[in-house]
Symmetry: C2
Subunit: 453 residues, 2 copies
């Protein structure tokens, strides 16, 4: 059995490892477009901040580890065509055709690509996207020249925020442009305001609700002009506009697409083509609460989908159980996390949502350094079902794993009041007899009860 | 409706608050044997270590907060008899009968009491139990005299370990006696050894597998003699032998008991007597994995049972969903957590358990200060069902909330391989694309597969 995988990032590698784990007789070949298989792209901000001094540390696994797990890697090679009727792909090295590879099963894991930013001046020297290892090397080299005093970051999603943190740590004065009304539009505005305050507290100039309209060069400097007359000059501009599926290879071969042009897959990660699976940032993602496909390009999801695809490619019958859009990001001293739906998504999906924000301590106040957590719980008024949660507080206040308790509850379709039934751990330095997640759930119940009355 | 509650600790207060929340017309009276309603007994070690300088901080709520929530508190009063046929209790203040109180519904929340230690010399000056607020004042006063250089702690359960940490922080040289083969017998020996190393690293003398046999006084000093000829002299001896249900008041009234003499209750926290509920450390606890009653005196469980009892006392139909024995304790730099069953309990209950220990990092190694976590996953070989988990590592490595992810999975009867389906959060400073709990679950799967093959 020859399993061929196009793409050497999270989904592709996860598929290959799982296939080899379950069927050590299978042959697995992974075609990787660059020379960085299995790199943690989520780690780029920490490489650029200097917290991770050596870029090679960003590898989830070394090439040697992958090879000794039985994966054949073809680096710096590009698949230019899939020929499904022949069970073959065409491969190029640089722009030189190197031939064809046949497959019994194929996994397409071609990832995402930056959204077109439609911003004049994108091609100027000193303006960089941040999507690949090579992008980050270019930014790193630019910073190493030592003359970057000011930077503009266009985009206030999680990569924009992490880069604002990273560059500030390197002593660069950062201005952040965001189109949405508040930063990190994947959480509610009340949290966005707190995050903006945190950015400003660390010296970041936040221009929110401002669309970047053009970048202009002038004697070695760059000026970013935005709506409302905003204008900031800097030596470096980073553009983080979000991503879209990189699906054209599959589409050209006849693969069907769905939400936002992502490859359509069933819950087994099969495409419409025989023996062709797909996984990761190039595919639609089944949303467990919505019971519908969405587009949620996240590393965690890519790993899971890849693992399912790899298992099924060697004869398994594993179902992808769905994503909840669980995410966490650290911005200076804050961690911000979310899982499931917020009011607008929930309402659009036909739920009757109510979101209640409350505060609880990460541990008993009598033990040193208690940290307040702000928690927003979204539930359905009619059924009491938990729909989502958001949490914000000090990054060492166990927020990442507390959102996971909500995620586990969501996974099982629990009601908000069911959270109080969970037997969670407690010791005064690390929690409360009712953990913060349960205190927040109880606050939701009281508020929902009050609304109903 | 008059709800009378006997006992002002976790279960009693939780019952009263829940009753008032759901039925603001109800009258709730709580009879409290001392003057410390709603105190966090779990906080005593931190008061004695000095980390919590003021004992009043240990109150979960002040008396004023309880009163303004509509709870009538009778402090320093003791219920000496329940007369179920008359729906009355007899009350004493000190040893003076002060009369009778009638009830429509009664909640017995009389808690636990120390196990008889059967240790000659227990009554000597300088020998203290640690069970009540008054116990801790006595220890505090003894320490405040400033001449305690050495202490012996008898008992290596979580209170013994927390006190070893607390007294070491105060500059006292601690010797710890434990009867079980390894400390903290509620986790497996491989963890016990690591905890002993941590204790020794901080200067604690650990005498493990040693039963204290007698305490003797000699010119102001105390000598603890143990099995195997062990003999340690100190100025202070703390005895933490574990607890048993304090059920005699209820038993005298005709309430039935079960496991270890705890009050027998149904899943609604009703006793066999009409209109008499019971909750907390005095009752049997339904174990969700065993589907059987156990005795698990824990604050978290007491809060939950009290809440259920309070809800049902005012006409609700809430079911106690069961305990998993989830616990976490901090000992110096370590946190140690557990939930569910370990091999011996699981085997005794008819499961076919296998426990696999593995190591994972709390966050991506390329981000500063990664901490290794040791994780033991117990699952059923036949069905793949998750039965329990134990985790140990640095106390700031989100262990408390990671064990909660296992607890949430156990609550829902998940299989071990289902953990990989959970959509958990990830950012490099706080996790991995597969969180440590999922890495441990995957290690279990591989080992179980290898055993099966």
């Amino acid at each position: 059995m020859h399993l061929l995988i196009v793409g050497g990032s999270d989904a592709g590698i996860a598929a290959g490892l799982r296939a080899r784990e379950l069927d050590p007789t299978s042959r697995v070949t992974i075609v990787v477009a660059d020379r960085f298989p299995n790199y943690s792209i989520c780690g780029l901000p920490f490489y650029l901040s200097g917290e991770t001094p050596e870029w090679r540390q960003l590898a989830h696994r070394t090439t040697e580890e992958l090879t000794s797990a039985g994966l054949d890697l073809l680096l710096n090679q590009t698949v230019t065509a899939i020929l499904p009727s022949r069970h073959e792909v065409r491969v190029e090295d640089g722009h030189v055709a190197v031939g064809s590879l046949s497959y019994d099963r194929l996994v397409v894991a071609t990832g995402a690509q930056p959204l077109p930013a439609n911003l004049p001046g994108l091609g100027l020297p000193g303006v960089f996207p941040l999507h690949t290892m090579d992008d980050s090397f270019r930014v790193h080299d630019r910073l190493a020249r030592g003359d970057v005093e000011r930077a503009v970051i266009v985009g206030s999603g999680y990569i924009g925020l992490e880069m604002a943190d990273a560059l500030t740590q390197r002593g660069v004065q950062v201005s952040l442009f965001g189109r949405s009304a508040t930063v990190l539009a994947t959480v509610d505005p009340s949290f966005g305001h707190i995050i903006s305050d945190e950015l400003r507290r660390h010296g970041v100039d936040v221009f929110q609700g401002v669309a970047a309209e053009a970048i202009e060069a002038d004697v070695g400097r760059l000026t970013v002009r935005g709506s409302e007359g905003t204008e900031v000059t800097a030596e470096l501009v980073l553009v983080a506009p979000g991503v879209q599926p990189n699906a054209s290879l599959a589409v050209d071969a006849g693969v069907e697409t769905g939400v936002r042009g992502a490859i359509r897959v069933d819950r087994h990660m099969r495409t419409n083509l025989l023996d062709v699976f797909a996984a990761g940032d190039c595919v639609e993602t089944w949303h467990r609460v919505l019971s519908a496909p969405t587009y949620l390009p996240l590393g965690t999801t890519a790993h899971k989908q890849g693992r399912v695809a790899g298992e099924n490619a060697v004869g398994g019958e594993r179902v992808f159980e769905g994503s909840l859009g669980t995410q966490v990001v650290k911005v200076f001293e804050l961690a911000i996390a979310r899982t499931g739906l917020r009011d607008p998504d929930a309402r659009a999906a036909g739920f009757d949502p109510i979101t209640v924000e409350s505060e609880a301590w990460d541990h008993k106040q009598y033990y040193p350094n208690p940290r307040p957590l702000r928690i927003r719980v979204t539930g359905d008024r009619r059924t009491g079902r938990l729909l989502g949660a958001q949490m914000l507080g000090h990054w060492q206040a166990e927020i990442a794993k507390r959102i996971d308790v909500f995620a586990a509850a969501l996974f099982h379709g629990m009601r908000v009041d069911g959270l109080s039934d969970l037997d969670l751990s407690y010791t005064p330095p690390l929690g409360s007899p009712w953990d913060a997640v349960q205190i927040a759930a109880q606050a939701w119940e009281r508020a929902a009860l009050a609304v109903a009355a």
